[in-house]
Point group: D3
Chain length 220, copies 6
């Protein structure tokens, strides 16, 4: 499933852009040295990276929509990436595991946070290829798209202007996407309709919710 | 889970008893020759067996409660069994598969249909042992108890009078008991509360129901 | 995954339309009496139904692309459906099982075969809702879209003209969509690259293919 | 499965009751603020809570019966709860996960430790509802009942006197109850019969035990 | 696991050899037209094929060792194969499914029945490659080796004489080899030690056997 | 699967033997007090144990073949073991879990590192029993055999000389041996053939690799 979240305030977007403008970007292959498809730039300076990651992690932490949709267990510190004219990222699925030194993250969900106005650049859409059916995302500043890490996606070539985004990867408590989506749907129904039900029926629905979560979630 | 069903009409109970009275019973070990725990009698005459099985199968076929609880795929032809004073059936779990010649049945659920009055005999309760917690069933004529085939159960020694029951085994479309119970609970909530919901929420609940059934049921 | 197939020849499209024009359609709720979301018409006449189903089943049978993508085990006889102005089909997931009398089909994949020109009607697109991301399909005559049965989809209201489609449901040998998609991808790589490999490496890849199929496919 | 354990010595029971008598109890909804079914009191004072939890955890730690039955991985610090006349806890399944701040526990098994004499209060039995079959537990001081967290259970209204219990939740190394119970049964048979077997047969049984544990237990 | 069975009587071996001698063999690629590794000959004449298949199927049917080890559900009619000097069958895993026209067989286990004396030919051993560890089988006439279909195996080049074997494939009731092997081991222990046990312990072991079979076997 | 690794340099072998010669060995039942089949000696002195474990762990850490084959998550500190004439280790499967005090290891793979020349002792082969087919390993100094922990294996009685080995146990990121082996095979094919493929096909193969790893590996 695909979720568009209004994640950042205007102030946070501005702050991220200020951080990005204050330091140099390096070749994105630094973090994927063998990639033949990646052609972009990434923020590298430790202080700037930490500052922008902090802003984005706080925004995730306060979002109930994110929590309810993703069942997040761990979130990789988001990285700022820049696409200048001619740059793109060819079709790929994200790696299964990210080794962050002190912690390893299984990438169940990927997330792109858009940081500049879609009218500021041409091309540069995030395209997810579902066989013969492409999904295209080019969102407003501060909006994030959360999508499964396991399907082919790419960033179209930027032909004009500059595309600035944050990128991160999420390990979910419910690894299986099919189960995660059903759990989300059932929880939504319970949240919206539960209090109107006969108490006994609601208790029964809560038993189903608790037991599916018990059965489907990773060992804590 | 355990379900008590009012299965037979008084007329059907009477008919079953008439069939039982019309023919001889044989040692129950006929169908479990190596059993060291079985000590009862079973109806053996083909015509009488078919007549009583027919009555009981028709009763199952018309019961929505049975269908909704058991998700039945196949039902073994029920057999009449008799316990005279001194007879009992020691603790056992039912065999995984019953070979009925033309068809094999996986026994997911077992069922005892009581055919005479509990006051007509002493002892003879069906006891299910859940570790240190026993469940005891001694029901009214025409009532059936449906219980999991995979737990220890036994029939207490009859000390006086005669106990007459029908016995059968059910292969469910949902083999796993944990999943079958959750499916049942969710279906019950949807049946009782669905029409009161916002249509969009009900559609979402129906998607969860359909997908759990798709995922959990045996291949048709 | 989503697959667009050129399924029918022009002659077959014409024949299906001739069949559709030769007989009356009935309210689509005939086959889903409790549906609150379905508002369309279906072909009902047995001879016409059989004639059109025959044409479509033959087209599936001769398509290697269909076979390689869907791993079909059973296909329900396709039904012709018509949407006149004002008609639509609200968001729903397809039922898990279709009882066709002599056979039960688990609906893993759904398929819409478009039978008239998209310029002949306004509205009437097939919309699949993947959370916040909609996919929209309005194909040329003779083209088919195959999509997972387990996600929300709907047919937009037709506002002008008439939409004529064939509809069917497919039980796949590989029930799990995640596994089916990986099997398809791996088979494609093997078909396109296998003969260029060192024989030993190709044999090893074939071992992986055979063992994943052995492990993932339903019992034959 | 259900297990009744003689858990506490008389001295420990007395010590728990002394702790309970030394401090105030608060509304039990403190730890389940949204519960509509909970109506009891819980010990809240940190020092008293720690003292009673310590006594109970030590009792679990020294019990081989507990270890063999539950395959415990983590145990939540037990909490003392009190039911005064009119109080009860309506039917519910326990939540899947308990967030204890520094650790999260998946509640596979629940446990009630009885701390006063069943003759000291009326009502107040722990009832587990297995569909149409209720199990009722009202044990002697120092005895504990361990039961699955995933089934409906309730505490009957206390109508006279006071019911004092300890409550805790256990994460098992073997999450699936069906598998945990089979592992327990097989281990018991091996412990009671293994040394009488031909060494080769016992080695073979040990291979089965080791491999089922390897296969069924959570990642350590 | 690997099992060597004394399958055929001397008379049956002689009869198979007589059948083989009475008719022509054809290129083995007839049944695997795309194979690049197969270089042998197969019996093709329908009457001769049926006669030899009949002998071998009867031998399987009467063997309790085969039944207990393989939990057979379906057996493909065995085919006679001949290797003349220079012939071999390169490393391969067997296909997941065999389409026999009226029935499809999942090949869980493969079987080679040796029909002539190992001293009658040089080379021609069946080699199973378990990574760096080869197993080599060159058995006496009438002996069969049953081995998993999912591992690399090959037939060494015959350098002198003639190698005559029967070949078949078995679909097991328990598809997963790990589970099938544990079931076999547990059943063997129960058969050899059960009657010496305390009846209660034996009943408990039988409950474990029945429930593992219920849980692990394919839907009947 | 079975893998023979050239693990140690000659210098490391010499150093291990020097450590072994510098201190006393104790009865191997120290670490398996209830074993009836173990009859060997183990290094016990903490400093010597640490020194030899260090050498062996470093050798594992630098071996890409080991990493690619075993997907190691944790490795128990290897222990030196000695077999003098008359000693052996009877058939057993290794325990599922090793409690090393600060960490628990699930033993998926076992490993024997040979430390002296096979000509220095008679008997003493490591035998793995795969039903009726034995594998026998008696390797050169510095070579290691990695084998599944879940199958019967034994050390033949040493009849002359002395057998010195290192022993350890490995928890793999991919617990299931069937899946681990397929992942290994697929990774090997990708490593050897990937760069020759059409980039799009290689990207597709990489998607399959990433998704199988995501799906099959333990939670990180």
């Amino acid at each position: 499933m695909y979720r568009v979240l209004p994640l950042l305030t205007d102030g946070e977007v501005a702050e991220c852009r200020r951080v990005a403008a204050s330091t140099q970007f390096v070749d994105g292959r630094t973090s994927n040295p063998h990639s033949k498809t990646k052609n972009n730039q990434q923020l590298h300076d430790p202080a700037a990276s930490q500052a922008s990651a902090q802003i984005l992690l706080q925004a995730f932490a306060r979002s109930p929509e994110f929590r309810e949709f993703a069942f997040p267990d761990k979130i990789a510190p988001p990285v700022l990436a820049k696409y200048l004219p001619g740059m793109h990222y060819g079709a790929h699925a994200d790696a299964a595991f990210l080794n962050l030194g002190n912690v390893v993250i299984r990438s169940d969900l990927s997330c792109t946070i858009f940081l500049n106005d879609p009218r500021d650049y041409e091309g540069g859409a995030l395209i997810v290829r579902l066989g013969d059916a492409p999904l295209s995302f080019k969102l407003r500043p501060g909006e994030a798209i959360i999508y499964p890490s396991d399907t082919f996606h790419e960033v179209e070539k930027v032909t004009k202007g500059e595309r600035l985004v944050g990128i991160t990867f999420i390990q979910s408590k419910i690894a299986d996407p099919f189960r995660r989506n059903l759990m989300f749907d059932l929880n939504e129904v319970a949240a919206l309709e539960g209090l109107k039900m006969e108490p006994e029926n609601f208790a029964r629905l809560q038993l189903v919710q608790a037991n599916l979560l018990r059965y489907w979630a990773d060992k804590p």
